[in-house]
Subunit: 529 residues, 2 copies
């Protein structure tokens, strides 16, 4: 998640010690896997490559790695063969005359080749350049084992000797990447997907999820490496259909439950290092996703203890959101609590926001039922008002499309979320989606798998499975065609070089909100088979 | 020492275990001193500064250091108040919203301001850029104590935040430099120098020596950080007149004694990390300085045990050198065993080399006497031949100057070394030096305190004390005038921006061969007072 920085220094936080203790009791022990590079690769000159997602195999043999001693400005790129998250070490020796100067080395870690084609020095975006996975290291004495203390998210490791001296060179051996995750592929139950394209999409989704599952569900292990509610919701869903690690899901719900503002607002994300800290960023829809994520969790696990502990948090989140709803059932958004829906600010989001509120209330009512909520009828009435308002004021019966009140703008997100919220019945939903496809497909101007996910799920809900599958193949399949080992934070099929940050070097190429095909396939295709 | 890289991969080394054990038994424990920055300084715009050796005090107060939080591209420079060698640590915290990105930090360590005015990226010289004292560090979690593992040689520490994020900044506190040396200023016996200029030169010399005295006599603690024979000779002499640390001198002699080629050649320098290793660089005069350094040591310490152990090494060094002397007493230099004399290659060095051989033989004969050498007469005869040849073939009686055979070139080094070798009596030496001064003063084209040292000592030997003192003041005094806390590896009074490496960023500004005024003042001015 990104794009607009919020700074809310005056927020007062309530920490619920009891809930946070439950969160901390579920910190997973990370599983470690030793990974060795499988080959040495190299850049392809610009006029010889189709795009920046290609590298070619070097003539250098990985089995003879330590024969290739490197002097000033020489480099080689190790290919781990797949995307991993973890720590890197390598043995380094000097070759030639005695080592009469330090070794100065640059290590660059890249999830995809385009990061290797980008020059870090050219980056001039608004996001911190500290995210660039690049280290400069001096070694005064060789031989030595260089074990970098930080964690990286990568498939490629470029070793560049900035300088040795004219009298000796550096040679590398025993490169080792210790990959880390809270889950293992061994935990997956076997699934049979006959369609090869879907199978590949499923596998890459699962790998994306695995690499994001660390001591929390991270949004991206390269960047921002932290727990966002919008990502958590989708990761947890994908997790239920794959690894089914219930401890990590529980932990993350308790983390959000345990850190709220003193009036009960749930932050959009939290930090866990050096200590548990909520971020001062608030998004209207992300707050509501605490409620839907709790619903998903309880529905999947029947963990009524968690319901008991977290229901009051969810109720408060709903109550706070309902303060934004007027007597007609209209959600009135304010600037200090914006709805996210998608990165793009090229479309109006009020109708999608209204739908997300309805989507949430429906799930909240089921939680309320299980909790024996005494005010259930009150919430049901508010839900009805919002649904009625949506049908009457936001739906253009002629176009069969939801509009933005005031401007009559018709956009993808409004239709998709209203269908997900099931404001109408399946038959009408189908008509809405068909109309939407007619006018807006192929989709342009949307860069997030997050938004694409919602389009695909709305297609499934509206009984347009064929179109849902086609969109998955066109979008996630296209990333695989480009070489994706994990799915990307941002991807515009119509603009391969798109980056929300001005450089691919800042993009996260293993991003939680992109792992949802594992959920979509699991829920809508495998179970129904 | 620098300028010409030698690569001699085919050398076979003999390691003398017994001698090396004696060297290792004398590794000093380093003394540590905690140093805190005394102020914050800043660069002066180019049009407002007289030269690149000036900084100005910042309006920022070092006592309020942690109030100055730094964001992207912001920096501050800590001034330790003097030159030190050791390790740096600082506490870093984040200020503002929670830390939503790593901190990316650059630390630059500078001995003198000119290194701060130079941009590392512009450096394109032949010497390894790995010597630039600059580190790039990512910190994922704050607060943290950053304790850099490497050793630096510096007075100034620049902290530059390359990036935080728009939501927070970095603040610094508790900067600490732990200075290291094998000796302490407390070991100095008090000396009284009434002349303020000489007193300042003496003090800076002593500081230079102290900072170079680590587990060996290093040539420069910034670069090359190792034991060179040419530097050792001068450091040891300065040490006898100041700290008088006899263990370190002994250790270094045994290191050279214990590592020679299988035909007895002594390398120009040795490494001590990760293990004892001789460098494959050979300089004719440096090999001979093992002999003179042993002479200086035994004369000063009366350590006849060392004489017993190391005399055979010295004898072999002399024998090897004598193989280069023809039957007329003429030293015939070869390309694979060059004489150094000075960095400059703008003058011919054969006559200076001849003089160094004579200088050495005279001292070797005294060692031979103490050792009861049976072949003493043989060496005396060879010495006489060399002296006779020098007087007859290399001295122009008309000019009263030594020449280069063949070209008749008259240069400073030839006169200086022939006077140091005392080929003539004091009266003639004085005439030679006066003639030399008439033609060559003020000296141009010589950039090393190493060569200036020999000029000054030759002036003292030739009974030109006044001119010797004036030259010390003009040369080393000029460095102090420019702000030197320690004396520099390279300095041309006529060209302040001179660097043998194309950038001041590679120059060593605390260099062993520049510390000799402490010896010169101690030997020729204090003792005679």
């Amino acid at each position: 998640m990104a794009f607009t920085f919020q700074i809310n220094n005056d927020v007062v936080w309530d920490y619920d010690k009891n809930l946070l203790e439950r969160a901390e009791a579920n910190i997973p022990a990370l599983l470690e896997t030793e990974v060795r590079p499988i080959r040495i690769v190299e850049r392809i000159p610009e006029d010889q490559r189709a795009n920046d997602f290609e590298l070619r195999e070097s003539e250098k043999n990985i089995l003879s790695l330590n024969d290739y001693s490197l002097g000033r400005d020489e480099s080689l790129i190790l290919d781990l063969g797949d995307h991993y998250v973890g720590q890197f070490s390598v043995d380094i020796a000097s070759v030639g005359s005695p080592m009469d100067a330090p070794l100065y080395l640059r290590l660059k870690f890249a999830e995809v080749p385009s990061e290797l084609y980008a020059d870090s020095a050219d980056y001039d975006g608004w996001l911190s350049r500290s995210w660039i996975q690049e280290e400069y290291v001096h070694l005064d004495v060789l031989p030595a084992t260089l074990k970098l203390p930080r964690r990286y998210s990568c498939r490629y490791v470029e070793l560049t000797v900035i300088d040795t001296s004219p009298k000796w060179k550096a040679s590398f051996s025993n490169p080792l990447f210790v990959a880390k995750s809270s889950v293992s592929m061994d935990q997956l139950s076997a699934v049979t997907i006959e369609d090869e394209e879907l199978k590949a999409i499923y596998n890459v989704s699962v790998k994306t999820l695995l690499d994001c599952m660390q001591t929390v569900f991270e949004d991206g292990p390269k960047r921002d490496r932290r727990l966002w509610l919008g990502d958590l919701r989708l990761q947890a869903l994908a997790n239920y259909y794959t690894f089914n690690d219930l401890f990590l899901a529980k932990r993350c719900l308790y983390l959000f439950g345990g850190m709220r503002t003193n009036d009960g607002k749930i932050p959009a994300n939290v930090f866990t290092e050096p200590e548990l800290t909520p971020d001062d960023t608030f998004l209207f829809d992300y707050s509501l996703f605490f409620v839907t994520s709790l619903f998903d969790y309880v529905e999947h696990t029947k963990d009524y203890d968690a319901l008991e502990n977290l229901y009051p948090i969810a109720k408060k989140a709903v109550d706070l959101a309902l303060e934004q709803v007027d007597s007609q059932g209209r959600l009135v958004l304010t600037e200090d609590w914006p709805v996210f829906v998608d990165w793009s600010n090229d479309f109006e989001k009020s109708t999608a926001g209204q739908a997300i509120m309805i989507y949430t209330l429906k799930r909240f009512l089921k939680l309320a039922e299980a909790y024996n909520e005494s005010e259930k009828a009150h919430y049901q009435q508010l839900l009805n008002q919002m649904v009625d308002f949506s049908k009457q004021a936001l739906f253009d019966t002629e176009q069969k499309q939801f509009i933005i009140e005031g401007t009559n703008e018709v956009n993808v997100a409004s239709q998709v979320w209203m269908v997900l919220a099931e404001v109408f019945d399946k038959r009408t939903n189908k008509r809405i989606m068909r109309e939407m496809m007619k006018n807006h497909f192929p989709i342009k101007g949307i860069a997030t798998p997050y938004m694409y996910h919602h389009v695909v799920e709305a297609l499934f809900i509206a009984d347009c499975s064929e179109e849902a599958i086609k969109l998955m193949k066109d979008y996630w399949g296209k990333m695989i065609e480009l070489g994706a080992d994990t799915f990307w934070e941002a991807f515009k099929p119509e603009d391969l070089e798109f980056s929300p940050y001005g450089s691919p070097i800042l993009n996260s190429y293993c991003h939680a909100w992109s792992c949802t095909p594992a959920y979509l396939i699991g829920k809508y295709l495998l179970v129904n088979k």
